[in-house]
Symmetry: D2
């Protein structure tokens, strides 16, 4: 997943506004599903929700930069999953976060369906250094 930094992503400090790294990571998670043809239906009452984020801001991207997002699973439970997501500019890591996602149906935590686990597992099936 590659993301270009546009004007809308930057702030008056001349760098990417801090919460936008977290948005980039959500884009990467969504793209993993969208690119496999798994589109959300209108009025869906199930899906993953963000429950916890631990984020480290290590460096700054600027206007025009091309960033890479790497995503891997670091823990999986019955109804939740923890991902490590990192943002790189070439070989330099600018941002890293662990995000705990809970699978919900009708507003309540629910066992993650098998077909979603299989798709998520593909996040880890890449050779090291591959950007998903």
């Amino acid at each position: 997943m590659k993301i270009r930094v546009y004007y809308e992503d930057t702030d008056a400090g001349g760098i990417v506004y801090h919460t936008n790294y977290i948005k980039y990571c959500e884009r990467a998670r969504s793209e993993h599903f969208f690119s496999r043809g798994m589109m959300p239906g209108e009025g869906d009452r199930y899906g993953f929700v963000v429950r916890k984020i631990h984020a480290d801001f290590l460096g700054s991207a600027v206007l025009g930069d091309m960033l890479k997002i790497k995503t891997s699973i670091i823990d999986a439970k019955k109804s939740s999953i923890t991902l490590l997501q990192e943002v790189y500019k070439e070989e330099t890591k600018l941002f890293g976060m662990e995000v705990l996602l809970v699978y919900v149906e009708a507003g309540k935590p629910h066992r993650i369906p098998e077909y979603l686990l299989i798709i998520l597992q593909e996040l880890n099936d890449h050779p090291p250094g591959y950007s998903s």
Copy 2:
């Protein structure tokens, strides 16, 4: 309606990103209804949609500025309404736009209900220079 410019509103040029003035105007339209207790219901199939915008960018706001949004009706038809919305920094006009809003029910243009017209009319009931 007063709006403070935060980091998220600015871009690497050091000024407010151009589309944000249009967002501020939408905030002002929503606030006009929200502040009267008219909250949108989940799954509402009716409301105003933006059909046309003619916008002039006249000046720039910077981080920390406090802006005023002025809104007035300049035309009203059976199922649509045209508003003039302007953004001021003190006495200086930074932005102006005419926005054509169409009232829709179930996806189709529909006569604007009387109670909404009455609320919209209050936009024009202010003395000159008043910021709604």
Copy 3:
């Protein structure tokens, strides 16, 4: 230029928030320069600024949609240029706008340099239907 619609782009109405089409058009303009290696320098005092936008909102995109942005020059003057930018979902036009950009140096309108005109001209060098 292709753009995917992510959660961040949508609003509670289930569709893309109206000002985001205008942001997509700005991304397309920037990408035209960035992809040719023309990166903005820190503290640059020259560039194009948005002076006027006439926009028509014709349809709605939803989460997961892949959109195409088409850009062409419809008028060019000594220190300004008018572009037509359109957003398509497959063959359906969802949005169109004319945007007047003024070239400024040190805060004042200035004759557009030849090398920028050449790059801009490439916007029109595509066969009909090509999305830049």
Copy 4:
């Protein structure tokens, strides 16, 4: 600090997009300084930067909600400070985060100036339950 939820803040799930709670907290930090007349200067080479965020997403806000942001200092070191920031809808806590801010001058961590410490200290000078 009170913040209204507008269309731009929500996503197709009908609720506030997750990173926006983190943006609201940044608004609250900036407002604490702006409201005391401490405006950032153009080209400033000093200020606080976000280094770490630990965030818990506990509930969801919807369009039209009026939220309160509470901010207090939980740790202060020579060149950094840790704040607890919480977002409430009436008495219900929807979001909480600890954010580590580092004070930098010319790109490097630097002892926090006394006058900034005094202003920050005012965050804790409110009676319990007060929303700064």
